[in-house]
């Protein structure tokens, strides 16, 4: 058994052992006398290979650390976006109203200007009333 272990150990140190041979080497070492350092080290390795993680949790939908923060951020974004759009629409409507009012004022001003310029035309209404100014009937007599 000892020679078998030595042979496998030599192969192991050279990095030429297969996984099955390494398993066999560990088994032989556990039963053999001597080889205390190798046995101890392989024993330590085995203990390390048995270290398990008991705390980690299987991720599920909504289990992420920042899941609810992300949801809140998305909701906040939509809230802000909706408010901004509404405000934009209101300001657009106000702008349109002011523009229409401004146009009406302009029309009104120009109308007034035009009307005042037409005041001279008022005199034309007397053009056809010469018989009122002069009593033609009396003159004919």
């Amino acid at each position: 058994m000892k020679s078998n272990i030595n042979k496998l150990l030599e192969k192991y140190w050279e990095g030429e052992t297969s996984s099955a041979e390494e398993e066999e080497l560990r088994n032989l070492l556990s039963k053999a006398e001597g080889f205390e350092e190798e046995k101890s080290f392989f024993g330590d390795i085995k203990k390390f290979s048995q270290v398990k993680n008991e705390k980690i949790q299987l991720p599920r939908l909504g289990s992420g650390r920042y899941f609810w923060i992300k949801i809140a951020a998305v909701l906040l974004f939509f809230l802000i976006a909706t408010t901004a759009i509404q405000r934009y629409q209101v300001s657009k409507a106000e702008e349109a109203y002011l523009a229409v009012m401004e146009a009406f004022t302009l029309i009104n001003d120009n109308m007034q200007k035009g009307t005042s310029q037409l005041e001279a035309m008022e005199e034309f209404r007397f053009l056809n009333t010469s018989h009122d100014m002069f009593n033609l009937k009396e003159l004919q007599k």
Binding site: Y12, W13, E14, G15, S19, E36, E37, E38, S40, F41, G43, D44, I45, K47, F48, S49, V51, K52, N53, K55, I56, Q57, L58, P59, R60, S63, G64, R65
Partner: protein, 165 residues
């Protein structure tokens, strides 16, 4: 019926935890690193399913997350928030056996540590190690040979110490 994530990714948790432990040298931090990687993997689960080597992707993600942890802790150190216990970056495990394994592994270069752990602790085949760490088979074999050579010297010196006592 188990999902792809539950059947193929979730069972890697202990193997990945021990690798994270090698990289961050602290069980609590290793747990945080792993939880964060699993959450990212959960989000990318449909992409992972299409990958050729999802286990390799997980391994590399754990390594990147561990390095990210170091970058963050270094940033805090530079702000004067240095933890004196972390200065040496040595494992102080409650279990003597694990402490002894790390005592030896810390004498090796990083790549040898990773390959040594994947082979000796996790029992992976050379091909798997090469795929996990994105290395060639030759690189895996050479690094493992060097790590074992160092182990042989380590055990021989321990034997000699005992004989002298």
């Amino acid at each position: 019926m188990k999902t792809f994530f539950e059947a193929h990714i979730w069972p890697l948790k202990n193997k990945l935890y021990r690798m994270a432990y090698l990289w961050v040298k602290d069980r609590e931090v290793a747990n945080d690193v792993l939880q964060s990687v699993f959450e990212k993997a959960w989000i990318k689960r449909s992409e992972l399913q299409k990958m050729e080597n999802p286990a390799g992707w997980m391994m590399r993600s754990v390594k990147n997350e561990s390095l990210q942890h170091f970058r963050m802790s270094k940033r805090f150190e530079s702000l004067g928030d240095r933890d004196p216990e972390e200065e040496s970056r040595e494992v102080t495990d409650t279990e003597d056996a694990i402490q002894r394994v790390f005592y030896f592994m810390e004498t090796l270069p990083e790549k040898q540590q990773e390959i040594f752990q994947l082979r000796e602790v996790e029992g992976l085949a050379y091909e798997e190690i090469a795929a996990y760490l994105e290395l060639s088979m030759d690189q895996v074999k050479v690094n493992l040979f060097r790590a074992r050579k160092a182990l042989r010297e380590h055990l021989t010196s321990k034997r000699n110490e005992k004989q002298h006592q």
